[in-house]
Amino acid sequence: MSSVKAPVEKFRLGMLLGDTRYRSTTVQVIAFIIFVAVVFWLVDNTVKNLALLGKDVDFSYLWMRAGYDINQRLIPYTNDSTHGRAALVGILNTLLVAFIGCIVATILGVFVGILRLSKNWIVAKLMSVYIEGFRNIPILLWIVMIFALLTEFTPAPKAFKGADPEASMIFFQSTAITNRGAYFPSPIWGEGSMYLLIIFAVSLAAIFFFRRYAKKLQEETGKNLPKFWISLAIFFVPTTLFYFLLGSPITLEYPYLKGFNFKDGLYVRNSFIALTLALSLYTSAFIGEIVRSGILAISKGQTEAASSLGLRPGRIMNLIILPQALRVIVPPMISNYLNLTKNSSLAIAVGYMDVRGTLGGITLNQTGRELESMLLLMGFYLCVSLIVSAIINYFNRSFQIKGM
């Protein structure tokens, strides 16, 4: 018997493309070469252009005197502070708008989403109009519209003057809405207010531990404590008690008219109100749709099965529907928070000094460091979004249905 030798395959150049064993490597090598070439080309151009303009890449301007004022700041800042500090003020302003905007948008959005599912025809239609209206008109238009509403159609502070004023303060004479901004009462932290805060924090912790204990008790013995009422009592009673025992350490300071403007109280600029309100209204329309689709995504069989087990409607919502709907709702909701944060860069339209207004605006124009400022600005937004995506991924992993 003659043995048959396996034919020896010779490597040919054409196999780099034609043979699936080599093709993926070839494609990747080509892609890598193109990628490196493009990056090299861009960097080379940048270096040449910078050399032509006589510039260099230098971040030391961040430690130089900024020389401009910022009208809203959460940390101390004067025009003698550095550009770096101005950028920090801007970052905090951006985060402030984003934080408050997200909270308001969530509350509004959940309301709108649930009401759109209402059996009440007129309410459902009204919510549809709300959602379609806010979703289909650009956010920039909403921002400038609400800003115009606040600056052009609210009374000037001097309208509050006199015995028979044209305008009056609302909420028991505590809040004034003017064309310069809104004035709210502000709390004054008197002596002993620190203890009050500690007591409040302790009672919050007590509620948490009480609920855990109640759950354990129910799982072990089946005894059901009135959780809601006891939590409510822990929330209010100790703090209120100590508030009077310590002699009312926290008082409110009301804004009052002096000259042609209001004094004292908490002053919130119109630019801030307009931006936050527009962003949260716009985002709430999207969140409403997410909430609605999340609830609709839970099949009707779940509700029916739960009620055939004898659960009451409230418990069906709490124990069966919401935990499942949340899994659908939370990831897109967080990406909407991210959109809100990114959209807050439109602050420039109303002159609110966010990070784009300070670092990417006045600092950029004054120092002429476009490349560095834009890099830092993009880096900031990128950091925020990467951190948030990491949170989403963590959430997705921990809430996935096990075994899928």
Partner: protein, 427 residues
């Protein structure tokens, strides 16, 4: 004893339902007043609607259309809308500073837009797809003007490339990769040696010219349309490629795609637009500078392509893995499988997301006003800067908002129609 048994021999004529169960009243009871909470909500909503309309309807209905300035409006009746500003400035809101004797060009382009998308939207017209391919060049020529031949020569380059490819593949029997290279080389050869003389020659023989119009004269809704529709058209294929790259088995390609998508999605569009207006000159060879509208279109395109990629990736992920395996078992190559099996299904799943991205892109075109291009929102502040119309807010905003609403709402309704039409399962 009398017989008390009774047999009815005739049917009783049907009596009308009780008044509370008649159609309209029952509907009102069930939908509006089914409980005390529902009744309260209904009353509150009706009151809310009444409050809104009480002020709005007289304001809008009694609006003044004929005054020459806001002063005249206020003299006639300060409590109603002054729509005269729209009468006086609608040309600017729609066309920006485009020369008025050339308005027929954008209008014709706009009409042809519908002709060109008809083959894509309506399956019956698919045989006219060639017009959709011609349209972009035609639109550029119509809008910007100048000679037709530079635009024509770009199309000719594509023809050259295709010719090179097919000759190499079908006549000389090269492999497809090598034929692609030959096609590419023939395009380069065309641009270096043939395009220049060709354009000069035909400009001399057959001068077809339109008045050249500078990019800075574009504005208003025309600008939004140009940026929006070119962004939509360009971001769709790029988004598909990015999504495929992100799902790819090749780690390097995947890494590049993921990096690109995450970077673009991580920064606000407005910073990208600033890069386009301030920084792009740094990244290009010294001395080059190109049109601001094209720069904006490029940025808007890559921005929405990244979002589109994520939407399509969702569709790809939702597809059962059996589809990939079945197409591989049939012996289809990667691109064949994508074209015939995977993409048609994945795209169908992601229609709502795709259209949402389109709508988002179209709304985002308003951001160009921040880099001082004159889109409708930018024009609104420009018109207000005029002494005659200083103080006009709502009339302009209502008009602009309405225009955007009609476009975006129309797109979303169409997507819902498309979803219903393409639905093949019974669920």
């Amino acid at each position: 004893m009398s017989n008390i048994s009774f047999v009815r021999e005739k049917a009783i004529p049907q009596s009308p339902p009780p008044i509370t169960e008649s159609n309209s009243i029952r509907w009102i009871r069930q939908n509006l007043f089914s409980g005390w909470l529902n009744s309260l909500l209904t009353i509150l909503s009706v009151y809310f609607i009444y409050i809104c309309l009480r002020d709005f309807i007289p304001w809008a209905y009694g609006g003044i259309w004929t005054a020459g300035s806001i002063r005249e409006c206020l003299d006639i009746n300060p409590d109603v809308a002054c729509f005269s500003v729209i009468g006086a400035r609608w040309r600017q809101l729609l066309f920006g500073f485009y020369p008025s004797e050339e308005y027929w060009r954008p209008i014709l382009t706009f009409i042809l837009l519908f002709v060109s998308i008809a083959p894509i939207l309506i399956p019956r017209f698919i045989k006219y797809f060639w017009f959709s391919l011609i349209y972009p060049g035609l639109a550029v020529w119509l809008l910007w003007g100048g000679s037709i031949w530079p635009v024509f020569s770009i199309y000719l380059a594509l023809v050259f490339g295709a010719l090179g490819f097919f000759i190499a593949k079908n006549q000389l029997r090269f492999s497809s990769g090598f034929s692609l290279l030959i096609g590419f080389v023939s395009v380069v050869v065309y641009f270096f040696f043939i395009a220049g003389p060709f354009i000069t020659l035909f400009k001399y023989i057959l001068p077809i010219n339109l008045m050249f119009i500078e990019s800075l004269q574009f504005g208003g809704f025309l600008l939004s349309m140009i940026v929006g529709f070119s962004g939509i058209a360009a971001s769709f294929p790029i988004g598909i490629l990015l999504a495929l790259g992100r799902q790819s088995d090749l780690p390097l390609v995947k890494m590049i795609c993921v990096g690109f998508i995450e970077f673009i999605r991580g920064v606000p569009l407005i910073t990208l637009l600033f890069v386009a207006s301030v920084l792009l000159n740094y990244f290009l060879p010294p001395g080059t500078s190109f049109d601001i509208i094209i720069r904006v279109i490029i940025m808007v395109t890559i921005f929405s392509a990244a979002y589109m990629a994520e939407v399509i990736r969702g569709g790809l992920a939702a597809l059962p893995v059996g589809q990939h395996e079945a197409s591989a078992a049939l012996g289809l190559s990667y691109w064949q499988a994508q074209r015939l099996i995977i993409m048609p299904q994945a795209l169908k799943i992601s229609i709502p997301g795709i259209v949402n991205t389109f709508i988002g892109l179209f709304k985002d075109t308003t951001l160009v006003s921040i880099i001082s291009l004159l889109d409708p929102v930018g024009l609104a502040s420009l018109i207000r800067a005029d002494q005659k119309w200083n103080g006009i807010y709502w009339e302009l905003y209502v008009a602009i908002g309405l225009l955007f609403f009609v476009c975006c709402f129309g797109m979303s309704q169409y997507s819902q129609y498309l979803e219903r039409k393409l639905k093949t399962d019974n669920s």
